[in-house]
Symmetry: D2
Subunit: 388 residues, 4 copies
């Protein structure tokens, strides 16, 4: 590949938090350039946002339909390679489907769709087209998450027995939807956000992380959802008991009313021989607790060859003590995705590390998780099977 990959954006106009994050992540490693966008449904915002990204006027589109159609007609050496969808939840499915139909690979924010059924439709389309979809479960991009997964895989912790994954945030502990917070506004509206609030927004991250790190699958769960802040229309808090396919048990907590918490995703996994603990707000440390010796603090860093797994090393940029963070974890998804696309476009086989990004199957499983949690919450029976 002797050029940067070309990316188009749907959504992500000014003041959109996650769109800016995607651009930083895509820019960071110099492998991708943003070439076009349908950045807002508001024409003025779309235009203004496109110019601030230095897009050529003719590639600042006013609708995603226009963008997908026109980009398709461009010559191959100009046309975008993939599209990134960063619109509110309700506007993920249709652009994704249309992109696939027009031959573009897709990067999508999560949750993938509003319903499991939509997710399955996308999966079928992908199977048919052979195109690629990446779902931005950012937290799996951190090097110390990779290291935890490698340790579990290598059997260093022994048989896994218990998983505790928690995701407390506090930003909805007061009613913010009525105010000017644009991230809150659409999340409050079931039509635009889907049937679940907190559990879809961050519970799915937690569930993905638990399965990603352990390599296990949740088989049954028992959920209790709440609306704690008066005026919130969807669940803003939930607690879930978990059973895994190897007999391990677990707990998943997610809350947006944990007052004063920022983005406190944490996972702990305990096996027969050892346990790990990873906290997203101090992401460069992985605590490893042993049955027979004292705790070690495993650290991210490019120079820890021989100490870290290949998977972790591949996802580091700096030596130990030069902290990488959320944007680098995000960029790791893009870097792996770009490496995979470049390899496939060049006719090479992508490495395992390049194939390590959340894909359509994670998107489908996330939607199934949301539906299972909602079913369990509505049920008087203790356990609800999680099949997918």
């Amino acid at each position: 590949m002797n050029r940067k990959l070309r990316m188009g954006m749907i959504g992500g106009g000014r003041n959109a938090f996650i769109g800016a994050v995607h651009r930083v992540a895509a820019n960071m490693d110099g492998l991708i350039e943003v070439v076009c966008g349908a950045l807002s449904t508001d024409p003025e915002n779309a235009l203004h946002s496109g110019r601030s990204l230095f897009l050529p006027e003719e590639r600042i589109y006013l609708t995603y339909e226009e963008m997908l159609r026109k980009e398709r007609q461009l010559p191959a050496d100009q046309r975008m390679d993939f599209v990134t969808i960063v619109t509110p939840n309700f506007a993920h499915f249709e652009p994704a489907m249309m992109a696939l139909e027009n031959g573009f690979h897709v990067v999508s924010e999560k949750p993938l769709t509003l319903t499991l059924e939509e997710a399955l439709q996308l999966q079928r389309k992908i199977q048919k087209t052979g195109l690629r979809l990446m779902l931005t479960h950012t937290y799996s991009g951190y090097p110390m998450v990779k290291e935890a997964r490698s340790m579990v895989r290598a059997g260093k912790l022994g048989e896994i027995r218990k998983v505790i994954v928690e995701y407390p945030q506090g930003w909805l502990s007061r009613l913010v939807y009525k105010g000017g917070n644009p991230q809150a506004a659409w999340r409050a509206d079931p039509e635009r956000s889907g049937k679940s609030g907190c559990m879809a927004d961050i519970g799915t991250h937690a569930a993905h992380l638990a399965e990603y790190v352990t390599g296990l699958r949740i088989t049954e769960l028992c959920a209790q959802l709440s609306v704690m802040t008066t005026g919130n229309s969807l669940d803003d808090d939930g607690n879930v008991l978990l059973k895994f396919n190897n007999g391990a048990t677990g707990v998943l907590l997610a809350s947006q009313v944990a007052t004063g918490e920022e983005n406190a995703l944490k996972i702990r996994v305990y096996g027969q021989k050892g346990g790990i603990e990873w906290f997203q707000q101090e992401p460069n440390s992985l605590l490893v607790k042993w049955a027979d010796s004292f705790m070690q603090t495993v650290r991210a860093g490019t120079r820890y060859t021989g100490l870290l797994s290949e998977d972790a090393l591949h996802n580091c940029r700096t030596p130990g003590g030069h902290p990488e963070g959320y944007l680098e974890a995000f960029a790791n998804l893009y870097r792996n995705f770009a490496g995979m696309l470049s390899a496939e476009m060049d006719g090479r086989n992508p490495s395992d590390q390049m194939l390590d990004f959340p894909s359509i199957s994670d998107g489908v499983r996330g939607m199934a998780f949301i539906e299972c949690v909602l079913a369990s919450n509505a049920s008087d029976e203790k356990w609800t099977k999680f099949t997918c």
Copy 2:
């Protein structure tokens, strides 16, 4: 009161962990002296242990029955004032009942008894005799736990919405009962330990702490218990969803197979305006997280007058930065209990701070909690009512 209070001990011979802890706690503040003991059912151990405590030979008893009988016959100015019971769980009820029948106040290790019914019998006896019983829920003795409770009471956190209390330990992640660990041996045996393992041993501490700090009561729960280590005969791990009487929800985790964890009791309480976090292994800090400003680290210390509540200050001995720990928390229970007994023996009214120790009602509630958790675990229904 112009003398130290006189304490007798049942159990607590050499190599008994918790007996030594009780003695340090009772000694520390110079308010109590150990005057007699029935320290072991093994006569040689009893004798040896008594001598190592410098007890007079005639007050080194071989059985608790002998001790209670003979102490009763001593003149009032020699007789012990109260008895501390630190035997394995199955040997709490009978000595406690006999002590009450002979007019002695009681300090008992938890869980109070093997069954709720026994606990209720003790409660009735106490109501009849007017004697006092203290149950050593140690963790409620920490000054920063008092501070957390004071903050909740004063409404500083607003209406409480969510409680997360967790108690991971790792010491049973390998089968230790067959080995020489004397603390493990009786805990493995349902006849001596009761119907629950982990949940009775440490889950009750967690439940007590949650109710103590919040002032709320658990009304329903959904429990899932496991035996993770092959060879363990009782639950060594459990997860419980909680509902509280004000509509708050919560999660209680307890585990003795969380490999590599020491004694990692932690509580988080979130209200509308703020949240608190307290971790037993760094007990002199209370993290306070606000909706509208940055987190504060409230610290224990005698000189923080004006910053800490009276309840917290009363339970500190040193200025900030001179860490107090587990033994001081334990000593706080004894100091308050001794203050209360001294006041009552002098005909004074004990202060609120002196009355702040876990009592018979906490013991009864703890036994009810165990029974409710076991019932829920055995049930297919999601929620089991917790009444008591």
Copy 3:
């Protein structure tokens, strides 16, 4: 400015740590593009490195002289706007001077030059040309460092009395210069590195940070340098007592033989009313310690309007709890520098925030610091004046 700024690189070929960091930092915010480079003195490496950056073949230069000459001849709408110099220390001065002579702004790694005299020559050239130079004292780019500076400026800490700045690293605790570590090789060689090792490499960062945060100036110092690892040819450890222009005192520690430390830069500043502590390895927290109330943990985050200073907010990209790190701090330097250049090229006045990057005067002062420390180390007198 309706285009990205165009950057050329001198140095930074493959395996060069800091060159890659500069590119990530420059790329991240989509304001700068790398358009040309003289990436290595080894032609094959230069070519290969240029291609991996997707540079056009004709702008992959083999020497910096060639690059500066040829770029100057390009039309204004293609020519690079500024050059970034990431070569070893000895090769900073000449390219920088030649760039200025050819009308290019300069970004330079630190230390600026090998001698104070060279630094002063650059300063005079800059004064004459009106061009801009940025020195990458990265650590001043962190938002919580900006916040600390703002607090000091606003008088929140009261009169400053004591500064403790320390920079322990461990990577030279074993002799690595003889091995294959390319970062170590030139640092070992006084001809290429300069007269000081540790103190020039990281001590200057610490001194800059101390003056940047406090707004004070070091006026006298007392230094003791050591070569601890046999085979190291320059100082690998040093301790310095400091006096500041307001009467405050301080200590500066720098070490590359603090075995097991990564990049543990920390600063503490104590004033009459409060103190701050900031640690580079957990850079999103600023501990603020008050005389009259409990410690607060101030946190970086775009949404903390009203709680953080404008200077801190301007240098954040993500909401609290989405950690930013070293690369973002580095990118803040570039973003401010780019904002300043764009404004000036558009004829606008740059904002205070855009002008907030380390400049030629910081570079001169850094060289003076190195010379003063070396003089003090060689002296038997306690205090050496620091004038510049």
Copy 4:
């Protein structure tokens, strides 16, 4: 020994912070009883304080001279065994000397005396009488400090190169001497406190800890003392460069104007192979940083046999995760001292662990340290020899 040791107290009446600490430390392990006291020079306070300790009226003395004389005349089976001196600094020497002259062992607060000469007089008296003196350098009583010392001794860190010991407190950052703080009042007065403030009060602890942990001796130093708070009459802040007898260098910081700090004693020691870090406010963890692998967190706890040194294990009371603190560290001094006295009174040889308490030689060296620091501070030469 079939009885508790008998202790008398000089000083330590009500409101005396350190006297109460000594009593808790002496009481804790049930090996010592307080039998008499000259608790205050104010007769009413003395009487009241004695009664609150339940002392018999006839052993509540009004002066230390009376106490020493009368106790000496008591029969051997009643007479106190040793005296603890907890008066302000100026009142250490005379009671200690008189106690020794009357055949009593001594426990003394630090600094031992007002001058080095007095300390040497005590040393000569002790050599002549064969009596024992313990100086309460509390911080050397912590188990993790013992562990650090054991690691250095066993060569696990390799040759020691650098020592950083710091002791920041903030309580004098405002003038408190004029107010009601009784701990501050006498410390402000050179007649009662000695020629140094901060450096004598806490700098000596830091110096002792550095030498205790490393087994090295300071041979030269370069000191800079300040009076930062207007109205303080003695140094309230100081920075000292250190040279050790093996070529290691170091820095010692002590401050009582580090606003917002509690009692933040920390030591870091770096050797060729590894480094350790210990922080008094979280005393149950010892961070061990390795050249070749990730950091370990060594933890205090009775059950860590095989993992901890004998010296550390001997000074623990509880299993890991049941935090011990300042009072237990203090009690370790008393427990070792009591074990040593009991052994010697029984004609047994005390174990190495029992002999591990700060003694007269530490007291002499502490006084020499103070005098050396004052001499260096007054000198324009960089280095002052530390001989003693």
